[in-house]
């Protein structure tokens, strides 16, 4: 990892840039690193770099909020981490799988099998039942061809899906069609789908953005509680600063494709946040 503290001292970074967290520095739980990037770069075209050298390290069990204004590269970073988007440079290591541009087929399979992903919109199959949508969470696993419908899924998967639904308080909706639920309920189903196979890492891209404030808060509380309860590492993006501070252990801010701030949530001040969003 480049010495950003040195860069700050030598004037390469502006003075108000706060040095990123170093492994073990603020996170004192002693857990192993589950996700790390080194000089990660992403360009959609040469004139508009989206990520400009991201160095990030996240330890197992941490809950990390990724914040930044629109176009700062948050969603792109999340998608680069699990190989949905190809990287333009640098290196990503996720759960001992290290890759530069894209993970190879085996790495991609292993990474995605151990990762849950929740999108801003719930992305459920609207014509299928809630239970089938949660069973879909097993699709990436071994012999998962039976996972496309709860009707033919193995009994163990149906039970796991029902348990995941009960964790988000929706077990009584199991056989309703997904599009019959409210937006908040659908997002809770998406969380159940992401959690059904107990991933080691959960990535969420603005999971509360399309919800009203009350539902959004409920969803974030649920995320936070379940990840803590099951020891799942959580990396989420948010535009809601209250959510970012309250439901994470650590806040990482991106500005113009670079890490602008990286510190424990409790230490993040309003001034830090304002500077993050100042052009």
């Amino acid at each position: 990892m480049p010495d950003l503290l040195e860069d700050t001292r030598s004037g390469l970074l502006p003075e108000n840039v706060i040095t990123p967290l170093r492994q073990g520095e603020e996170t004192t739980n002693g857990a192993a690193t589950i996700l790390a990037t080194s000089d990660l770069r992403k360009y959609y075209d040469r004139a508009t770099p989206v990520l400009q050298g991201i160095d990030l390290s996240i330890r197992a069990g941490e809950r990390v909020a990724l914040i930044g204004s629109n176009g700062s590269g948050k969603s792109t970073l999340l998608k680069c981490l699990i190989g949905i988007h190809p990287n333009s440079g640098g290196r990503v290591t996720v759960m001992d799988h290290s890759f530069s541009r894209l993970p190879d087929a085996g790495q991609r399979r292993n990474i995605r099998r151990s990762t849950g992903f929740v999108f801003q919109k719930h992305c459920l199959v609207r014509r299928r039942t809630v239970l089938s949508n949660v069973v879909h969470g097993m699709l990436g696993t071994e012999g998962s061809w039976r996972g496309f419908s709860q009707a033919i899924a193995p009994e163990a998967w149906r039970l796991a899906a029902l348990e995941a639904l009960s964790e988000v308080n929706l077990e009584s909706f199991a056989l309703r069609r997904a599009d019959a639920l409210s937006g908040g309920q659908q997002q809770r189903v998406a969380i159940a789908r992401a959690l059904v196979r107990r991933p080691r890492l959960l990535i969420a891209d603005e999971p509360a953005a399309s919800l009203d404030p009350v539902s959004g808060r409920d969803v974030m509380e649920l995320f936070s509680r379940l990840c803590k309860q099951h020891g799942i590492t959580l990396l989420f993006t948010s535009h809601d600063m209250a959510h970012a501070r309250e439901f994470s252990d650590r806040v990482v801010a991106l500005r113009q494709g670079r890490i602008f701030l990286d510190r424990p949530s409790a230490d993040v001040t309003d001034r830090d946040l304002q500077e993050t969003f100042d052009a």
């Binding site: 949905i84 990762t115 999108f119 014509r127 879909h136 699709l139 061809w145 419908s149």
Partner: protein, 267 residues
Amino acid sequence: MPEARDTLMPGRWSGFSPVTFILLVAAGGLILSSMQSVAPSPKQLVDGVPGMVSLVDRMLPPNTDPAFLKRIGLRIVETFQIALVGAAVGVLLSLPVGWLAARGITPFGRGGYLVKAFVSLLRTVPDLVWALLFVATVGLGAVAGTMTIIVDTVGFCGRFFAEAMEDSDKEPQEALSAIGASRMSILFGAILPDAAPSLINTSLFALEKAVRSSVVLGLVGAGGIGQELKVAFDLFQYKNASMIILAIFVIVLVMEYVTDRLRASLQ
């Protein structure tokens, strides 16, 4: 400020370029010149009326002889069997064909265009031509008719299935891909459920189309009620022909009613 407003007012014919105008005039000229070559003249229409009246007179009343009706009934059952089996097998074959042809979904990448071209070939060759080919290869009868309907249905459904899959909601597909689902899992888990109403609708249209096609396939010896119709006209048995036409009308009407009801229940 009328002057300022005039300058802001968009033209009434904006977007109607000289090229568009020339193309419209050319298309109109083509239609008119074609009408002169192939459309019936008023004189021809008037001259044809006595012949038509005479034909209708010889067709009435339709033949209601029980033995004939029994023979027609069996042929109608055969026609329906050709349509049903042909459409069912054609729809089943169209699912993988549509998947392989669907842009952005096919595992063949740009090779999907070749599958689309193949489906276009099946669709553009008329069903009577396919029937002639199958009669020549497997002989006269219902089997040739069924094979014709299968090919015709793949040509029809293959295209619309591919389009329905292309238009299916991309977000669930992305979500399943993000958790490591395979192409097949995404197909069965996200694409087919989302495209299902469109697929069923297209399949019902295919069945309707198959019934209409199977009626005329007999004209070239590919089985079904059309074979009886051809014999009736060839032997100038117009009362038999009118009964067959009536029977065809009834089965097409019943089929349209049933498929309309099924489509309505899907809404």
